[in-house]
Amino acid sequence: MPQIRAVSFVLLFSLFLSACGGGNSETRVEAGNREGVLHFGNHSEPQGLDPHIVTGVPENHIILSLFEGLVSKNPYTLEVEPGVAESWEISEDGRVYTFHLRNNAKWSNGDPVTAEDFRWSWQRALSPILGSEYSYMYYGIVNAEAYNKGDMPDFSQVGVKVLDTLTLEVTLISPVPYFLQLTDHHSMYPIHRSSVESFGAADDRIAPWAREGSIVTNGAFVVTEWQVNSHVRVEKNPLYWDADKVKLNAIVFYPTENLVTEERMFRDGQLHRTEEIPLEKIATYRQEQPEVVAIAPWIGSYFYMINTTRHPLDDVRVRKALAMSIDRELVSETVIQGVHLPSTSLVPPGTLGYEPPKVFSYDPEQARALLAEAGYPNGEGFPGFELLYNTHEDHRKIAVALQQMWLENLNINVNLVNQEWKVYLDSHNNMNYDMSRRGWIGDFVDPYTFLNMYISEGGNNNTGFANARYDEIVLKEAPAELDRDKRYKLYREAETILLENMPILPVFTYQFKHLIQTSVKGMPTNIMDHYNYKYVSLEPQG
């Protein structure tokens, strides 16, 4: 029937047209530039906003906008700047810090921020049953470790004292050169006691105080919207002591899990900044729009950890053979577009001037000799093993390339296994793996943050590596050494021990890769990929 055909056709077509939105209206980025709203691609949905509990990078990005610690960091130089503390003194022996808090620092509900807020917050963070995963950041403080492990229930014995309303005194066991940096870590941020306690015991992890509408914060922004899996919106806090310097009006964080979609959102003008760049697009961007590409060294290491209790990986010759038979240059150049840099050490070179030792290099001949020595000439009789990685396109690509290289250079078979994050972590904790991909981003700029992973009792070790001399250097000798060159010499000795034993197989030094619109000012790259939103402003593009 012609009538029906005509009617239905018209109906569908008009439906289609009406749904096809305005073609040339302003993009979200353009509107944001005008309104001072930064649209930030943040990779995944934050698990929570409790600064003492969260551990992920996406959570950190948001918390940096909401909270402020004793100090903050300059995003250009990573030098320490006054935060809640407007000045401080350090004693001669480097062990006692006296912080003078400013008198106009306020919580978002108007209450003043006091030294007692810090003391109480640090006590809460160190609570034995809260399970803050960063409590080790505090261990430089006298008795902090004992309190945290439940061995010493009296917090007044811990080296944190309130001298008066606005003065906080911290006593360390021995001088820690990077202690000020540490206080800018989210695990040492203050939280608002009465609002937290109104929801239940302070050390109850699942008390719902850290939610939009109820969370009380002391930073430059406050949470106004939080729709799970959709976005988190924070707006400028007029009560913040430095509000005059804050140029942004709001930031919206998007959980852009899929990096291919994230890149398209950027191209479509929906994001000012992306968390990642899909590898296939890097060459194009470098050629056509290099000004939006931000790829720079990141204080992080990409390596494979090895379960040294499992055969055939229990033989150090096998491990060394594996390390020497992968062409890191080639993989870096071709598979990952030069995004990560080849590395033969655990600690990234240049970490505050530290140069790691070079213990081996790419040498397939030597690798084959070692493998033969271990009893598998030309790969014969080699039982093979499983390489585990957490589910992610980049990790898969690298693993596939390496698997092939081992086959070609050593004639051995390696099986690839991937698990999603939680199961992957579980496998590590239970040492239920042969070899696994591992990444570690430093919590602060000092080689210690890497080297202390592999002390014998280290909760992050999980390889079976235990060396008394290594422990001695890392835990005792180096921290006691005040002279930086001498300390680095000790670190190099420790790292050499580590690399000679090869419980880890270094592959790359991380670089982060972001796309940033040119209208964003004040968001420079730095080695910690640290953000200080006070410096950020948006310029409407001409």
């Binding site: 071709t334 596939v400 690839l416």
Partner: protein
């Protein structure tokens, strides 16, 4: 009375009598789409079987310096970012996809036919209980459970077969039961039983073969569903794991880079879609052939 000569002529003039099967085959032959489907499938299965001998490149053979390039003389369908030949990967992928399709369907078939035949034959309370169980399982949101199963117990091929097969047997069981039920009431069944034929022999030698029609149709239509299901799971990262690749895995890789290297998406996508086409056309054709009055579903 002597026979009229007309009767003899008549006997010659009548067309040669055909059985049900011959009728069906005849109808199927006339259905062009179904024949296309059948030919395509036969060729596909053949090619996939001999793939290890005819594939131009190794399955894992990388050429990192080459990277991803479009179709050329050396690589008819192009390469992926590792420089691996796409044609080879599609052929090997086809082996896996077809394998999963056939095996999981076979599992479903075995369980379903057995279950349905017993329920249909025995009847009464046993039948009621068995079918109630089917109803309950049928109502469960199977997708959710399959995802859960794969996530909980890890991704291995065997589990995949079982999980998929465990879901698809239900309708098969229902169909077979219905068929067996109606057949059982026929007279020849009673006759056979009274002659001393055992129930098992009855089921196997008489009932099942006669119930085969709808079973064949449904099996042919289950295979594409299974392949889709496997592709779907692989796309979510739960099905086939690298380095093995099914078409579903190849498609999910292709989606990631579809803008730069569209051939990585188009060719595997085409392979899957056309194969599913062929299976569906064949299935439809079989259904029409075996029972032209059945309504399409």
């Amino acid at each position: 009375m002597t026979e009229s000569p007309d009767i003899e002529n008549l006997a010659q003039a009548m067309p040669h009598g055909t059985s049900l099967w011959e009728d069906a085959v005849h109808r199927l032959r006339k259905n062009k789409l179904a024949m296309f489907g059948l030919c395509y499938l036969l060729i596909l299965v053949l090619v996939c079987l001999i793939t290890p001998w005819i594939a131009p490149y190794g399955y894992e053979e990388q050429n990192l310096r080459l990277g991803a390039v479009g179709p050329t003389a050396e690589h008819w369908l192009g390469t992926d970012t590792f420089g691996r030949d796409l044609l080879t990967r599609i052929l090997y992928g086809g082996r896996i996809s077809l394998l999963v399709g056939f095996i999981a369907t076979f599992v479903a078939l075995a369980i379903g036919v057995g279950y349905g035949a017993i329920a249909g034959y025995v009847g009464g309370r046993v039948d009621a209980i068995m079918m109630r169980l089917v109803d309950i399982i049928y109502a469960l949101p199977y997708m959710i459970f399959i995802i859960l199963l794969m996530v909980v117990f890890g991704r291995n091929l065997l589990l995949l077969f079982l999980a998929i097969g465990a879901v698809e047997w239900l309708v098969m069981a229902r169909i077979v039961r219905g068929q067996i039920q109606s057949l059982r009431q026929q007279e020849y069944v009673e006759a056979a039983l009274s002659l001393g034929l055992s129930p098992a022999a009855l089921i196997i030698r008489h009932l099942i073969p006669n119930a085969l029609g709808p079973v064949i149709v449904y099996t042919t239509l289950t295979i594409p569903n299974v392949m889709l299901l496997e592709a779907f799971l692989s796309f979510l990262g739960l099905g086939i794991q690298p380095p093995q690749s099914s078409w579903g895995v190849l498609i999910s890789y292709g989606v990631e880079t579809m803008e730069e290297f569209p051939w990585l998406l188009i060719f595997p996508g085409l392979a899957l879609t056309v194969t599913l086409f062929a299976l569906n056309f064949l299935g439809d054709g079989l259904r029409d052939a075996l029972d032209p009055k059945a309504s399409k579903d």
